[in-house]
Structure formats: C-alpha cells, structure tokens
C-alpha cells in the first residue's frame, strides 16, 4: 500500500483525532461557553460565576465567609488544606522510604509491592476502606484512641466535622504513597552507587548522605511528584463521594464534588460547567508546569 506523502499522516491520524475532537475538544470548548450561559435570560454573562462563588449553602460553598475553628470552610479551602497536609507528607515519607528501601531494607520489593497496591485499588473502594478504618465499631483508629483514653478520637471520625476531613486526608496518604515511593525509587536507580560509596568512605552519616547526596539529585523527581500530587488533591472526588459524600454538613466537600452536586442534585448544568472551569483555572499553573516538563 503506497500513500502519497501528504495523505500518509492523515491515514494515521484520522481515526484517533476524530474521537478526540468529538469527545474531548468539542466538549471542553462548549463547557467554557456554557459556564457563561445564563439560563434565565439566555445571554452570556458572569452571573453563574457570581452565584457559584458567593453561595453559602455548605454543600455548594467554595469559600466560607466566616472564620470557624472546624470545617466546613468551603470546598476550595478543603482542597487547599488537603494539598498543604498531604503533599509534604507524601514527599517526605516517599523520599525516606525510597532511600531506606534501596540501601538498608531486606525484601524491599515486597514492601514496594504492598505500598503500591493503593494505586491499583479503585479509589471508591479506597474511600470505603477509609470509612471502615475510622469507624467506631470496627475501625482501628478509634479503637486505638479509645484504648489510650482519648474520648474525642474514639468515635467514627467521618461523622464529625472536627475529624472527617483529616481522616480523609490521612486515608489519601495511604492510597497515594505508592506513587511517590515508586517514582523516587526509580529516580534513585539513576544515582551512581559510587557517589554513595564515596560519601561513606569519607565517613558521612546516613542523614548526611540523604540530605547532601540523595535529595539534591532527586530534585526533578521531587518536582514531578509534588505537581502530580497537587493535581490529584485538587481533583479528588471518588474517595470523598464514597466515604462521606461531602458530609457531615459539607465539612468534607471538595471542588469536584460541588461540580457533581450542581449537576446531579441541583440539576443546574450550567453552574456545574462553571465550577468545572473554576477548578481548571485553579490548577492551570500546575498543568502548564507538567506540560513543559513532558515536552522535553
């Protein structure tokens, strides 16, 4: 089969790009359009954005107007808290584990296989398991705290605004740690063993080797794990949907859930599109970073 130079690329690209244009590109453009569509007047304006941003219903609220000690603080704030707690823990634990697994631990492949399992299990099931681990009757965490005698933490964590969000964040660490350990372990392979040996010969301590030899060389990997984890945290949905559904009283609501609530509960499709656009705008800097990194 001979095709002229002009037609050849079309032969290879026609089928994949037809699907992409119909089911990805067109809907993205249309979502942006719908996000401005005012269903009362039929014109394009910022009313959807105003309504979405100013909503004070705990199920739809993006940022709470009043400062309270416990959630609900609004979906966007919950996402940000998620990032602030989850990202450093993921990086820190992932780095240390990858380092220890490579140089000190026997049976490290098995440990990695176990930790990575969280990446394979459906996140919905992850969410249900989190609910299970923090359950008053059957869960481990309340049992431990009841044993030490801390009354406030021996209840079902996901049922109380004070603890629900934190339970989910801790659970997401359990699910996502496999990503950071795997990426860091792969990156460690590229550090020549001679560097470590040289440092050892000069009597460098373990902590010294970790901080002065390993961490600097893993900077690109740390970057990518940070960015991917931020994106994952900002888009988080399944875990919350399955474990708390955003409750109690909106105290675990997140952006993706607000988008879904406008769609499935309020049946307000245009505002749902608005939330999707807002979510995308917020993560755009991280998307650009990743694309730049993927390009070369």
């Amino acid at each position: 089969m001979y095709l002229s130079k002009r037609i050849r690329p079309i032969f290879f690209l026609l089928f994949p790009f037809t699907l992409i244009i119909m089911f990805v590109i067109y809907p993205i453009v249309a979502t942006v359009y719908y996000s401005f569509y005012d269903k009362n007047t039929g014109s394009l304006n910022f009313n959807n954005y105003m309504d979405v941003i100013s909503s004070t219903n705990p199920l739809y609220m993006l940022v709470s107007r009043t400062l309270t000690r416990t959630p609900p603080w609004g979906a966007l704030v919950h996402n940000l808290v998620w990032v602030l707690v989850h990202v450093p823990l993921t990086i820190f634990l992932g780095l240390i584990l990858a380092f220890l697994l490579k140089y000190y631990v026997k049976g490290s492949t098995l440990v990695k296989t176990i930790i990575f399992l969280g990446m394979v299990v459906p996140p919905v099931v992850g969410g249900l398991i989190i609910r299970f681990m923090f359950d008053e009757v059957v869960g481990i965490f309340p049992a431990i705290f009841s044993f030490i005698g801390i009354e406030a933490l021996s209840k079902t964590w996901t049922n109380y605004p004070q603890t629900a969000l934190f339970a989910l964040i801790l659970g997401s660490l359990w699910i996502w740690l496999g990503f950071s350990v795997t990426v860091f372990s792969a990156a460690l392979e590229s550090i020549p063993k001679s560097h470590i040996d040289a440092a050892r010969v000069f009597g460098a301590s373990m902590r010294h080797i970790f901080l002065k030899v390993i961490v600097p060389q893993l900077k690109p990997a740390i970057m990518i794990v940070t960015v991917m984890t931020v994106l994952w945290d900002m888009k988080i949905f399944d875990i919350v949907y399955a474990s708390t559904g955003g409750g109690p009283g909106g105290s675990t609501s997140v952006l993706a859930l607000v988008m879904y609530s406008y769609f499935a509960r309020a049946l307000d499709y245009y505002k749902s599109a608005t939330v999707a656009v807002i979510l995308t705008l917020i993560i755009t800097p991280f998307i650009i970073l990743t694309i730049r990194w993927l390009k070369d």
Partner: protein, 280 residues
C-alpha cells in the same frame, strides 16, 4: 560496628512495621467479609479467624441480591473496560507512529494538543457531552461511555507509545524503508511487534483506570442494568446503617479485577508509573 548492625535492624523493623500497617486495611476487609458480623462486634476482626464460623454469605448476597446486583455491574465493567482499552490502543498506536516517524506541518500543534488533553480534568467535558448524548441516544448506554473513555485513552497512550516508538532501533526502520516498504507495513510488521511490552503496559494501565472510574459512570450510566461495579459498590453502603460484612465483600469483588492483573503483571504497572517520574 555493632551499633551499625543494630541501626540496620532497627530500620528494617520500622519499615516492615509500616508495610504491615499498610496491609492492615486490606486484611480488615477480607476478614470482615467472611466473618459473621455479630462475632466481629464482640471479638473484633484482628485475630486468627474461627474456621467453623467463616461464611461466604456476604459475597453471594452482594453478587445476586437484586437490590445490589454486583454480578451485573461486574459484567458491565468487564465490557466497558475491555473495549475502552482496545479502541484507544489501536487509535493511539496509529497516532504515535505518525508522531514518531512522519513529518507533517501540524505535528507540533497536534502533539501539544495531546499533552493538554492528558492534563485536563474530566470534569471539564461532561456537561456538553451530557447534552450531546441525550440528543444522540447515547445517554445511559454502554456505547456512550466507551466512546468517551476511548477518546481520553487515545491522548495519554499516544504520548506513552510515542516515547516507546522513538527508542526502537532506527536502523531496522530505515532498512525497511530502503527496501521500499510502505509506512503501514513498517508500522504493522516492525514497530508493533517490537513494542509489545509497551503496548502491554499501556493496555494494563488503561484497563485499570477505566475499571476504577467512578465519575464518568455516575454521570452517564443511570439505570441498574447499565451501571458498572464501582457505582454498585457505593450503593451497598446504606444511608444510616452500614452492613460492614456486605460492604467489605462488595469492595473485594470490585477491586478483584485490577488486583489480579496487578498480581500477575506488577512490573508493567510499576514501570508504567515510574516512567512519569524519570526523565528519559
């Protein structure tokens, strides 16, 4: 010297305790799914199980009770995930060949488009597709969600395979070209057979992602006979009362497919993920 040995032992101990802690939730749901719930409440589940009281009643209930009907969900998931793996694999292999072996004017633009699509959140597409699907009769159909998953799959798999194709031995392709082989022949006889490990990794990751999806399914599959297993498992959780045995059994059923694939092919999974973090 002795201090060093002690330190190594201590590190091993700590890491292994952490690894065991990481398995505890899985052990928990397996245990609770086969124990009578009354026994769990009294004695807990973290113990050597009493073999005589073990039961698979929860599994049968979750699979067959018409209220939950995970069996249908499982079947639907299998159909959706298999076809939504096959279609994008073919489409992406074609596109990846064009990006790695052909020259054309729109190449940088189209490749940039692929990268952008890979990163865009799912939420950004569903509203217009919901309208479109309602008009086309694709709403609440397995076909509709397959088309959607396939289109998303094409984007990331194209990127993934392009990197793979680029590192195939150039000399083989050049030699075939000198012999007058057409591009399609080079693609089907040289590039594809050499890329089987890459195709495998892409297929496994795509299958798992589609299987694990909840968001698209919630939006586009609404009737019982079309819903997939990830939707069905959430329904096992009652509004006020949770039957943990039933929910645990349902969780294990719905995670069984990706976990089995992972157990058999775990190198492909880990390498596929690691490829994201290591610059080649």
């Amino acid at each position: 010297m002795r201090r060093k040995v002690l330190k190594t032992i201590l590190i091993n101990l700590i890491v292994w305790i952490l690894a065991l802690a990481w398995t505890l939730p899985y052990i928990g749901i397996v245990a609770i799914s086969v124990m009578p719930y009354r026994e769990v409440i009294i004695k807990g589940w973290l113990r050597i199980p009493d073999v005589n009281s073990l039961t698979i009643k929860n599994y049968i209930e979750a699979l067959n009770n018409p209220l939950y009907d995970l069996a249908t969900g499982y079947k639907n998931s299998l159909i959706v995930a298999s076809i939504s793996t096959l279609i994008p694999l073919i489409g992406a292999a074609l596109a990846a060949y064009a990006f790695s072996n052909l020259d054309f004017r729109l190449k940088p633009l189209l490749f940039g488009l692929i990268l952008v699509i890979m990163m865009v959140p799912q939420q950004l597409t569903v509203v217009p597709l919901f309208f479109l699907y309602r008009n086309l009769g694709l709403y609440n159909t397995v076909q509709g969600i397959i088309l959607l998953h396939s289109a998303w799959g094409i984007a990331w798999i194209t990127f993934f395979l392009r990197n793979y194709f680029k590192f195939l031995p150039r000399s083989l392709i050049e030699a075939a070209r000198v012999d007058g082989a057409s591009d399609f022949r080079i693609f089907s006889r040289i590039v594809l057979p050499l890329s089987i490990p890459g195709l495998m990794a892409a297929a496994l990751l795509q299958f798992t992602w589609v299987w694990n999806d909840l968001f698209y399914a919630l939006i586009f599959l609404v009737s019982r006979e079309n819903q997939v297993v990830t939707q069905k498992v959430v329904m096992l959780k009652g509004e006020y009362h949770i039957d943990w045995g039933l929910l645990a059994a349902g969780s294990i059923i719905s995670m069984s497919m990706p976990v089995i694939l992972y157990a058999v092919f775990n190198k492909y999974f880990m390498r596929g993920i690691a490829a994201w973090g290591v610059k080649r």
